[in-house]
């Protein structure tokens, strides 16, 4: 068991399965196809992200350094939340970027839906967490790799 302490952006208690990208997560490229196809589950369509490509992201705990890519990134998060195909939580190794922050806040306030998010977990977090690990997130930003 390994414990990390981050800063809760949207706090909550949740447990789920980790999906890991050690490089920047391109929000638009990852969700684009699932949105266009009006999919019931989001499957990563970012061909440049070998760790996530073709993997199901819905209801997973997405462990990433930061989000990257198009300026629409934050608004894409809002869209996937509206479609109910969002991840269970976002865990950021670095400080959350402004695009993701906007998406998570707009989702919280305008859709009244919370995507639990913790940032600043540190570089070591992404070195340790593996796809399929069971991850427990606590209200105070504690992240436990079970």
């Amino acid at each position: 068991m390994k414990v990390f302490k981050g800063k809760p952006i949207i706090s909550g208690n949740v447990k789920g399965e980790a999906l890991v990208s050690t490089k920047g997560f391109n929000t638009l490229a990852s969700f684009q196809k699932s949105i266009i196809m009006r999919a019931k589950k989001a499957i990563c369509s970012d061909q440049d992200n070998k760790e996530l490509f073709k993997k199901i992201m819905t209801q997973k705990i997405l462990c990433i350094p930061q989000t990257i890519g198009s300026r629409t990134g934050g608004l894409v998060i809002l869209t996937i939340a509206k479609m109910n195909i969002e991840p269970k939580a976002f865990l950021f190794a670095d400080r959350i970027d402004s695009l993701a922050a906007a998406g998570i806040i707009l989702t919280d306030v305008w859709l009244n839906k919370k995507i639990i998010t913790v940032d600043s977990l540190g570089k070591e977090f992404l070195e340790v967490v593996r796809e399929g690990d069971v991850v427990e997130i606590k209200n105070d930003g504690t992240v436990i790799l079970c």
């Binding site: 949105i35 629409t72 809002l78 959350i96 402004s98 906007a102 707009l106 306030v109 305008w110």
Partner: protein
């Protein structure tokens, strides 16, 4: 966050649920980045969301909520370029179908922007701060802009104060008339943590220099020395063009939102090296370093040595001076070599293009040699999966960063455009 009485009332819902959602979004966003208070926005706005992408429908729903409640932006604003120009840009039938699908809500988006109070139907450009468009903030004014190239320009060259805001948050801050006080709005946030020493014999290409700076400092603030010896100490039109392109490259290759240039940009002129934090890092840029950066760019074309098919000049949009520079230089090459061999688009704001059109002789000559003027965003052109497969060349390091386009410095680009 410490709030004023009127802000607390809004947050408590005393002016209704909609205003409560608006202020709550702005406060929560600010708190993430350590803002201690909200401050009044003093200037006009520029927004990034100029495109009716089907992907972001819930965002258009938010705008509908604002519009239906009669909320308008307090001052006329500008937005980024349109994604599509069926008159001046050549598209295949399939490309058109895909564009109409990707940007299927363009008409609705533009109707919404009109209802929110856009300056006029020609206010679609990333270079809104040019005289022809006229969205020019004043030094020191608090703003809440988005569009990274515009943010870095108004912060650095004009000395206005805006963070690199996200789409959605930009509109909410502006209709509220307040921005969270953090980052580039504060004195401390405008201090530099990098000293960049330029040690080259002749003025470097701004797109390459900006790229080198951005790739190294990422989201930090650089204080650049040695450049004013090459470019001068006055912000004339040529220098402003240079800084526009330098900033856009630094903002896209890294995430630079503000830079200072010794003896040139307004805050550096006022405060000099007092702007440097005590614990700054140093980065020396010489010819070798620029060459290293240039040769590090990956080539993303399937057929690496294939002949280029399209050239985009102007991302961010060209100024009037820049259009004339490209026209004159292409003309010289054509005289030497015969003709323009690649479809060449020069991108600029509509009011700038209007000025060229008013110069009938030049405009006719441009058309004759095959230069096409368009006001689109070339980045959005490249979002079309069919277009992104084309071999596109550009003078823009921003376009290179976000697409499969291949970057060339101006002189090399001119050579390629007229090569058989």
């Amino acid at each position: 966050m410490k709030l004023e009485k009127d802000e607390i009332e809004l947050l408590e819902g005393k002016r209704g649920a909609l205003w409560q959602k608006i202020i709550k979004s702005v406060i929560l966003y600010g708190e993430i980045f350590g803002a201690e208070k909200l401050v009044p926005i003093e200037g006009t706005a520029h927004f990034v969301t100029s495109f009716g992408a089907n992907m972001i429908k819930p965002y258009f729903d938010i705008l509908d909520e604002l519009i239906n409640a009669g909320i308008k932006n307090p001052k006329p604003f500008t937005v980024d370029p349109r994604p599509f120009d069926p008159i001046n840009v050549k598209y295949s039938l399939l490309e058109r179908i895909i564009f109409n699908f990707i940007y299927g809500k363009q008409k609705k988006c533009e109707e919404q922007l009109q209802k929110l109070g856009i300056l006029n139907e020609k206010a679609y450009s990333c270079t809104c701060y040019l005289e022809e468009i006229g969205n020019i903030p004043e030094k020191g004014q608090i703003l809440a802009w988005s569009e990274s190239s515009a943010v870095v320009y108004v912060n650095s060259v004009i000395g206005a104060r805006t963070n690199r805001n996200s789409a959605g948050i930009d509109v909410l801050c502006n209709v509220l008339g307040k921005a969270p006080y953090f980052g580039f709005l504060t004195e401390e946030g405008r201090k530099a943590n990098w000293l960049i020493k330029i040690q080259v014999k002749k003025l470097p290409n701004p797109q390459l220099l900006g790229s080198a700076i951005g790739l190294t400092v990422m989201e930090d603030v650089p204080y650049i020395v040695g450049l004013s010896d090459l470019i001068g100490t006055e912000l004339n039109e040529d220098v402003k063009d240079y800084l526009k392109d330098l900033g856009a490259a630094a903002a896209s290759n890294g995430a630079v939102g503000l830079y200072h240039i010794e003896n040139l940009t307004p805050e550096a002129k006022e405060h000099g090296r007092e702007l440097l934090r005590n614990d700054y890092s140093t980065y020396v840029i010489d010819e070798k370093e620029l060459e290293k950066v240039y040769s590090s760019y990956p080539l993303l074309w399937k057929k690496e040595n294939g002949k280029p098919q399209i050239c985009f000049i102007g991302c961010p949009h060209c100024s009037l001076n820049q259009i004339y520079w490209w026209f004159e230089n292409i003309k010289i090459r054509i005289k030497e070599k015969g003709k323009l061999n690649i479809i060449t688009y020069i991108c600029a704001a509509l009011p700038v293009i209007d000025k060229v059109k008013n110069d009938k002789k030049t405009f006719e000559e441009m058309k004759k040699i095959g230069i096409k003027l368009t006001s689109i965003c070339p980045l959005m052109y490249m979002n079309n999966p069919i277009c992104s497969k084309k071999r596109v060349i550009t003078n823009s390091n921003k376009l290179r960063t976000y697409s499969t386009a291949r970057f060339y410095p101006d002189e090399e680009l001119l050579e390629i455009l007229t090569k058989d």
